[in-house]
Symmetry: C2
Subunit: 371 residues, 2 copies
Amino acid sequence: MGEGVRLSDEQRLDWLRLIRSDNVGPRTFRDLVNYFGGARAALAALPGLARRGGASGPARICPPEEAAAELRAARARGVEFVALGEPDYPVRLQMIDDAPPLLAVRGQLAVLKRPLVAIVGSRNASAAGVKFAERLAREVGEHGFGIVSGLARGIDAAAHRASLASGTIAVLAGGHERIYPAEHTELLETMLAEGAAVSEMPLAWEPRARDFPRRNRLISGLSVGVVIVEAARRSGSLITARLAGEQGREVFAVPGSPLDPRAEGTNGLLKQGATLVTEAADVIAVLEPILGRGLDLPAQEPEQELTGPLDHEPGEDERGRIVGLLGPTPVAIDDLVRLSQTSPAIVRTVLLELEIAGRLERHGGGLVSLL
Amino acid sequence: MGEGVRLSDEQRLDWLRLIRSDNVGPRTFRDLVNYFGGARAALAALPGLARRGGASGPARICPPEEAAAELRAARARGVEFVALGEPDYPVRLQMIDDAPPLLAVRGQLAVLKRPLVAIVGSRNASAAGVKFAERLAREVGEHGFGIVSGLARGIDAAAHRASLASGTIAVLAGGHERIYPAEHTELLETMLAEGAAVSEMPLAWEPRARDFPRRNRLISGLSVGVVIVEAARRSGSLITARLAGEQGREVFAVPGSPLDPRAEGTNGLLKQGATLVTEAADVIAVLEPILGRGLDLPAQEPEQELTGPLDHEPGEDERGRIVGLLGPTPVAIDDLVRLSQTSPAIVRTVLLELEIAGRLERHGGGLVSLL
């Protein structure tokens, strides 16, 4: 993946096909492209990988016509696909481990270049929470930050509305043609004048419950810091806060009464060391020095990458040994290398095959398990 | 001042006379007793000190009959005077720089021996604040801590009421015969069954505004930790929090909405590093290890003390040089010693004279100025 080089139309089509194919997520995409030297070669290799990985049936590869149709539909809707490594790709998002290879952007690309602050919180927000979110979004926005949120009811919508003029970004859990909640369609349209909407999902993707946590990593990944305004004990905003911490982003929380269930989550974050926010200055004072320092390194060490084409394919015995070491309990990839007495490259290849075959689950911290 | 030795009745009378005399505060009391070897000798020396210090008129020395009358009235009211250094004197309070030489106690002396937690906050408390203070006081009290507060309306009264059964202590800003606010007289009587009321002021002392901050150092001084439940930006509870910090006590604060003015003070304390409290366990988790370690040293280094009788009295030239260096701007005692080219003992003596003459003000951090 080149730095700051634009993909050709053909390459963009190949990238879209690869990321829209079964069992290819952002991490696998990166492994495949690095491994095979490009998306086209990776696409060609998918059937073989799936077979060697022991797929139960044929894994669906996105046909060129389908990807071309999505690109056409996107263009018609004013959606642009920005590829990881291209100059328009948001620079902080690029640093996260599972950055989407293609980001579908509607609205102003330029707003994604600004330093961004996420403001998120309960859908079931209190009047005070909404008022505070508005004040914070307006003041942080006026200070030059773009405001990122999730377009949800309550705190998210309040943050977007208060930063319409300064620039605000909605990160969608579904595709650009399936705005959720539908009642915020008009709000979203208004946002596009100075802001943007982004999605990693197919244009017509209807968001399901599990797409929201996945989306939340983009909210934090785009941002220098994340402010949680109101959050109950087990809420999606707390997932965003956790992901922000894992991504090395600043986590801020707004305090509330211990008797208010909507403050349980934020007070909990404060106990865990989040920065307490009662006014915009609290956020700005922490973030400005960070921006002054330029981009930080990611909090997690990047995993070891395969950088060239495969020197030799795994033999049946090697593959068997590695698969034999795997089970439903997550194990460390490092341990697999040691215990299988093969090379990191061989282990990585076998894991890639299993993944494409839909048999592998990746967990945090370099752990994998069989599905 | 002996450790754990009881004063004779005569000594107690002398102590009471000395602390009730003009211009003798707790620090001066200690200096005088150390300097002259006892309260009686100090009383005899007061007129000379005041004269040499340049008093404008005669400083009032508490006559023996007045002190005897206060002791009699106290006994009639069930109030006991406990002297610094006696076995019944609260052990943590003894460690503060300006511990009262005599503490007038009504109720159960034993409760003062328990580990104590102060719970304080706004008089103008919200219903939620009152409810939370009650819950916290009850749970911390049931865990074995005595609950200290200031008998004020709002949070203080809620904390006392919720810990009547486990033991609660009111620290009065006035004397035992002038309960403030008067409407809490009955509450106070109820508290005495398992708890206590303490005061350093004369029995009939009507509390004035400036007596409350002074009283607050006793609330924190008695306690291992201080919890501020609700506090506006400039409130007495914040003074208690500051004093607690200076005394090396743990400071806890209860969070609240940034839009609630009653949470401005507590949120501010949290920003400054106070421990966030949403439940009793937050307080107990911090305090139990401290109790396990036994008593801490005071946070501030004790000032250098004069321990023997004076080797020689200051000469007129020495006194003149030291007074000449003083003015309305606070200066460090160390600088006075250096610039006057006298000894620390001489400087200390001259300052004591000025103090007894009512001409000296002591500030924090070893600074003094002329009044």
